[in-house]
Amino acid sequence: MKLYCLSGHPTLPCNVLKFKSTTIMLDCGLDTTAALYFLPLPLVHSPRLSKLPGWVSKDGAINLEKKELLDLSTIDVILISNYHCMMALPYITEHTGFTGTVYATEPTLQIGRLLMEELVTFMERVPKAQAATCWKNKEIQRLLPGPLKDAVDVWSWRKCYSVQEVNSALSKVQLVGYSQKVELFGAVQVTPLSSGYSLGSSNWIIQSHYEKVSYVSGSSLLTTHPQPMEQSSLKNSDVLILTGLTQIPTANPDGMLGEFCSNLSMTIRAGGNVLVPCYSSGVIYDLLECLYQFMDSANLGSTPFYFISPVANSSLEFSQIFAEWLCQNKQSKVYLPEPPFPHAELIQTNKLKHYPSIHGDFSSEFRQPCVVFTGHPSLRFGDVVHFMELWGKSSLNTIIFTEPDFSYLDALAPYQPLAMKCVYCPIDTRLNFHQVSKLLKDIQPLHVVCPEPYTQPPPAQPHRSDLMLELQPPPMSYRRCSVLGLPFRRRYERIHLLPELARSLVPSEIKAGVSVATVSAVLQSKDNKHVLQPVPKPAPVPPSKKRKRVMEEPPEVLNPKPLLSGAVPLEPFLAMLHKNGITEVKVEETADGHILHLQTEDVLIQLEEDATHIICDHNEPLRTALRDLVLRFLQKL
């Protein structure tokens, strides 16, 4: 069993598991941090940005996982754990010869589609400069300014995919529900379990009859909107692959949410605007819910909230229809019937308004001071670029970063100098190290596999030994391009016995509770299923023509020799020898048993735990006699 690690990013994993003749890809996250090397793409011409010294080159900004490690066309299935971890799907399904199936839950597919479409729209609606790749040449790159010359793996950066590619990729997705068992070629069974992180997010169990691998990716134990995490099914795993822990282990989501609200309300009270760069699904639902409760107490009643994204409307509406994927408390609202999320009420009362873009209705209805939620969190593309240009100059305004995926200082770099206040409250609800160690103590996997960063304290806080995994035995760690041999051997395989064969067995009890029978059968293996069938009867005495073939019948027609069991006890055996006239016996004790030297006959009998040897040269009758004596003490099957 092997694990190929195609991504070193702990929260955007991409691993391939080879297990029992199947090749399973676990997630395919897309690392877009390379976008930070590019200048923002303004929707409206920005004299300031265009004057900045920069390199004009628009390749899109994509960091694709290493694929030289194995042939992606051999992948049988891809298991997706949440919509953030599927953003690279088109790169894998479209140009690699992939012919397999992708498994994901419905919300994951739908919201993943929204996020991909949003990304494509963001990219396609700004005029594209010529694609340039020459600069990626090491010789030229070395001469480039600033951080660009230090960028690594620039050759793996890819142009953004197109809508067609998205559609084609997503057409390969097969929907699954939580706890649904999916058979892969009869060899393994995969099951998604609720992971509590986002709508439809799942952990996966990959098991055969005797082995169980759990894949935990992006899970949360906090009570937010999704269904809570299912933990008990993860018990008794041989291997647990652990990815997607919180990226900001020192920031407690509750505290950050509080920080978010108080900074927001402080800015609004002072007459400023608040900009929240965020993804169009996920934490934004919780932010809206929290603000819904907070608005009245903070006197924000009349302040408008704007949510601007090409998929804003779909995102808000999708969230309301996936009731079965929500936490209990939200599910029960559906029966009242009420919308599960309070943002429906915010929309109804006109407190929250959503627009596909800053053009059109928004520009006429826009009112300040206000709160704007918009993408993309990297501040390199999307409508957020416009608001940065618009509000950056006033110190009354505040930008609040809630997504933990990008360094906020890097994201802000091209906008400097900036007068607006910046607040960093990353909200990452994924498991923290404390919760993980509790979880692992509970589910007790035999081996844990995790990305290398989890085995040491964060580089910025080398002393925080509490912010790493400390396990016994220590976890196996991987980095990008690692190939791990998973540390367990397959020892058993399940074989079915046909009833007629079973009926023919004659078990004999060799000790209390244990019976043994010999089986003679034909083993048939098909579709990774193994069946023992009765030996076909020799054909009825055939007409002469077929005689030749009868001779070719397999040898199992012969009765096998009986199997022996039991041990030869020394004292009774000596007595037996004595009785049979062998009196001069010298007994020597060895590590495994005894050696009996029959001195007159010059014969050696070695009695060992699992073997008995009679060494007797040129005296076949004596050997046979001795053998029969030995056999008297043993049971035959």
């Binding site: 505290g255 509080g258 609200c261 927001l264 009270r269 929290c290 006197n299 002393h463 925080r464």
Partner: protein, 828 residues
């Protein structure tokens, strides 16, 4: 009253002694006993014993209860206590003794039902009876003569804690009694030697003392504990010669106990030693008090020594050397966790082990911190240890709790235990606040304010931790204003406070507002501060907090705004002041008239009161005062009404009492000034408020209003030439007016009929005698009509004064018994 009750007593006794009756509840019996006690102490036992129908019936009652086969335990317990009470005088004692009743009562073998002893209330009644009786030598003789001492000693280990405790008290009382003046044998013997005890009493005292020694040497922990408790009682309540005799005897077993160091005994052992510290034993080295305490500490290498040290540090009379040693020990955990390990000093193994476990590490650190805080409260002078290093340890510890690791390598295990630990954070902040008394010795202000600011800024700080942080910040700011204080406040503190006032948690918003209030009040008069306050954004956030969703927060915001307005008076630039006051008044009046919760409304009235007290503001407030008085007076919440009356009181004081330095209007006499003041009060609606409140449904409100009216009456009476005609109140159409009119008419009628019967036709008061309803009556007149003194007397009586008398108690008992009979009749 008492004679009424005494006449009821025989019947009550019959009911109580009747086994068919279910006994009244415990509280009735207790109350009855209280009444007996009071009666007995007033008359020195004469009434009960000499009152004819009572004395025999009481004796009869006692004997019947004791001999009855079906007595209820509660009644028996009551009877024993009553007997003890009666026997407290020699006369009573003899009376009971002659009838053989004493033996009946206190000898349990003589009771009708012996099993009743199993009931704890009976045993405790028995002890209480003896305790009450033990006022004279005969009583002691009775106790000793009948071998009751042995029983008491047994009860010392009773399974009921109350009984055991009472037994201990009784034993101490006996010991004390033995040495008291009326027991010493000869009047000529002075001094405190044992010889002063009469020989027959010596055996009693030694019996008790031997029991103590025996208990202390016992292997049974509860018995040891009881022995130690008795010992500490003796030490704190008895004098010589008991003290030294007993101490000599217990010293050996005590030493054994101390050296054994059992965890469950530590607290009690320390209590014993603490009691010993307060006695003359301390100064005599042969009594080894100090030595024992020192032995409790051991060499600091036992698990228990930290608990001992924490207790010893708290002792008041502890010798200095010992205290210092205990302090060294109790500060060890703190120092170990937050200072570098010194190479030459091997770390205590026990401590190391304890610090490596989370639970014990936290409890040790908390003990350490709270002991330190306690020492700081007494302004203890640290000599061997530098307060500077201790304080920086506390600061470091607080930093560790919020996840900062010190630069040098320390006790790494402890560090992970501490991250985010609220308990240690709270305790540490308390201690840091307490350490502000050493401010002048410390040069750590930057570090301290740094860590406090970190806590205020951290999004993970728990609401309770923030509250403690605010307290600590306040203490450090107030202890001595430093040069950069204003800089710190406006640049560092205010931005955090603004954010915290917008916090998600209402508790945090509330404590932030409280902190601002306290800070503003503490820095009252500091013009720099008020300028910083008013030029920052804090005030505008304060004003918007008045509309918070949480009632408590609104209330705190009202108080904070009130304080901010007061502070604005010290500001040199007055431009924004009137605006602030104006805005504050609008919002506060809205709260007072519309808020659905009581707290904010109370706060508004209180804010007005404090503004009035400040006196600068009266003119600015005048326009709102009458609305405040009328709204506050008609509030649903009685506390709002009370606060409104307090406001009225201040207003009266300010308006009526003449300010000696104020420039008097030329030509205005004292009288006219007073009249004008009253007119002003009338315009404010103050009199309406007072009269309305006088007939309020809440007693405290009436009481307060009555007191104010009495004050007003005195003032008006003092001013002879008051012009009544200008102070006329309309008494029609409101509740108090109707009441006044009714009384007015009643008085007139009485006067009129008086006039007729006296045969005097004329009236000296002219037109006042006609019986017509009068619409307008002058204020002094109303004050006369209302019988304020009588009303005040009635109001001061508590509301249950009628039902709380012994008479009603007895009637209750009787009627309950009667009811019982009726019920039986009903049933069959």
């Amino acid at each position: 009253m008492d004679s009424d009750c005494l006449s009821l007593l025989p019947a009550v006794c019959l009911v109580l002694a009747d086994p068919k009756q279910s006994p009244p509840d415990d509280t009735s019996l207790e109350k009855l006993l209280d009444w007996f006690k009071e009666l007995h102490s007033q008359s020195n036992g004469q009434v009960l014993l000499q009152h004819q129908p009572c004395q025999p019936c009481l004796l009869e009652f006692i004997s019947s209860v004791c001999t009855s086969k079906t007595t209820d335990p509660a009644i028996l317990s009551f009877t024993i206590k009553l007997t003890g009470l009666l026997a407290a005088t020699t006369q009573g004692f003899h009376l009971l003794d002659e009838g053989g009743l004493l033996v009946y009562v206190f000898e349990r073998e003589a009771w009708g039902v012996c099993d009743l002893w199993e009931d704890a209330s009976v045993r405790s009644g028995w002890l209480q009876g003896l305790l009450d009786m033990l006022k004279h030598q005969q009583a002691l003789g009775f106790i000793c003569g009948n071998g009751l001492i042995k029983v008491i000693l047994q009860l010392q280990n009773d399974r009921s804690l109350f009984v055991a405790c009472l037994a201990n008290q009784l034993l101490v009382h006996i010991l004390n009694f033995l040495t008291s003046s009326n027991m010493t044998s000869g009047s000529d013997v002075v001094g405190s030697s044992e010889s002063s005890l009469r020989p027959d009493w010596v055996s009693v005292s030694s019996e008790i003392m031997n029991a103590v020694v025996e208990a202390l040497s016992s292997e049974d922990c509860p018995q040891v504990l009881q022995g130690l408790r008795l010992l500490s009682l003796v030490l704190s309540q008895c004098g010589e010669p008991i003290l030294s005799t007993l101490w000599k005897d217990v010293l050996v077993p005590l030493e054994v106990l101390v050296n054994r160091g059992s965890e469950s005994l530590i607290q009690t052992l320390i209590t014993v030693l603490e009691a010993a510290l307060g006695t003359p034993l301390l100064n005599q080295s042969e009594y080894k008090v100090e030595e024992l305490l020192e032995a409790m500490l051991g060499d600091g290498n036992r698990k228990e020594c930290f608990q001992c040290a924490a207790l010893i540090v708290k002792l008041e009379k502890c010798p200095e050397v010992l205290k210092r040693k205990a302090m060294d020990i109790i500060l060890l955990p703190l120092q170990c966790v937050s200072t570098q390990p010194q190479a030459e000093k091997e770390m205590n193994v026990v401590l190391k082990e304890q610090l490596s476990q989370k639970a014990s590490c936290i409890s040790l650190l908390m003990q350490s911190l709270s002991s330190l805080a306690q020492l700081a409260h007494t302004k203890y002078l640290f000599e061997d240890i530098s307060i500077h290093s201790i304080t920086s340890s506390v600061v470091l510890l607080l930093r560790m709790c919020s996840g900062h690791r010190p630069s040098s390598l320390l006790h790494i295990n402890a560090f992970t235990h501490l991250i985010g630990c609220c308990k240690v954070q709270r305790c540490g902040l308390d201690t840091l606040g307490a350490l502000s008394v050493y401010e002048e010795k410390l040069d750590l202000r930057k570090d301290i304010f740094g860590v406090l600011l970190d806590y205020l800024q951290s999004p993970d700080s728990h609401a309770t931790v923030l509250k403690k942080t605010f307290q600590a910040v306040k203490r450090w700011i107030v202890c001595s204003p430093f040069p950069d204080l204003l800089q710190f406040i406006s640049h560092d503190l205010f931005p955090v406070l603004e954010k915290r006032m917008c916090d998600l948690r209402w508790e945090v918003r509330d404590s932030t507002l409280e902190f601002i209030t306290q800070l503003t009040a503490a820095l009252n008069g500091n013009s720099g501060f008020s300028e910083a306050l008013h030029t920052s954004g804090v005030v505008s956030v304060l004003l918007s907090s008045l509309a918070d969703a949480e009632g408590y927060v609104r209330a705190s915001a009202v108080t904070a705004v009130g304080e901010a307005v007061t502070a604005s008076l010290y500001q040199t630039v007055l431009v924004s002041n009137s605006k602030l006051l104006e805005e504050a008044l609008v919002q506060m009046m809205a709260i007072l008239s519309q808020d659905t919760e009581g707290f904010p409304r109370r706060a508004v009235v209180q804010a007005f009161t404090s503004w009035l007290k400040g006196s600068h503001l009266i003119t600015a407030l005048e326009s709102s005062l009458s609305s405040v008085l009328s709204l506050g007076g008609s509030d649903f919440d009685w506390e709002v009404k009370m606060h409104t009356l307090e406001l009225a009181e201040v207003l009266m004081e300010k308006t009526l009492t003449c300010c000696p330095y104020a420039v008097q209007n030329f030509g205005s006499s004292e009288e006219t000034r007073f009249t004008q003041a009253l007119i002003k009060l009338k315009d404010f609606g103050l009199f309406d408020l007072l009269f309305n409140s006088l007939f309020d449904c809440d007693r405290p409100v009436c009481e307060k209003a009555c007191a104010l009216l009495v004050k007003l009456r005195t003032l008006t009476a003092e001013t002879a030439d008051l012009d009544h005609s200008v102070l006329v109140l309309n008494v029609c159409g409101n509740r108090w007016g109707d009441e006044v009119q009714r009384r007015y008419l009643n008085k007139q009628q009485a006067k009129a009929s008086g006039c007729v019967t006296n045969g005097v036709t004329g009236s000296d008061e002219g037109t006042d005698c006609d019986l017509h309803c009068s619409k307008d009556i002058s204020l002094p007149k109303i004050l006369q009509i209302l019988d304020l003194d009588d009303m005040q007397r009635m109001l001061t009586l508590s509301s249950d004064h009628v039902v709380n008398s012994p008479r009603s108690l007895m009637e209750d008992i009787l009627s309950a018994a009667q009811q019982n009979e009726e019920n039986i009749v009903d049933c069959y």
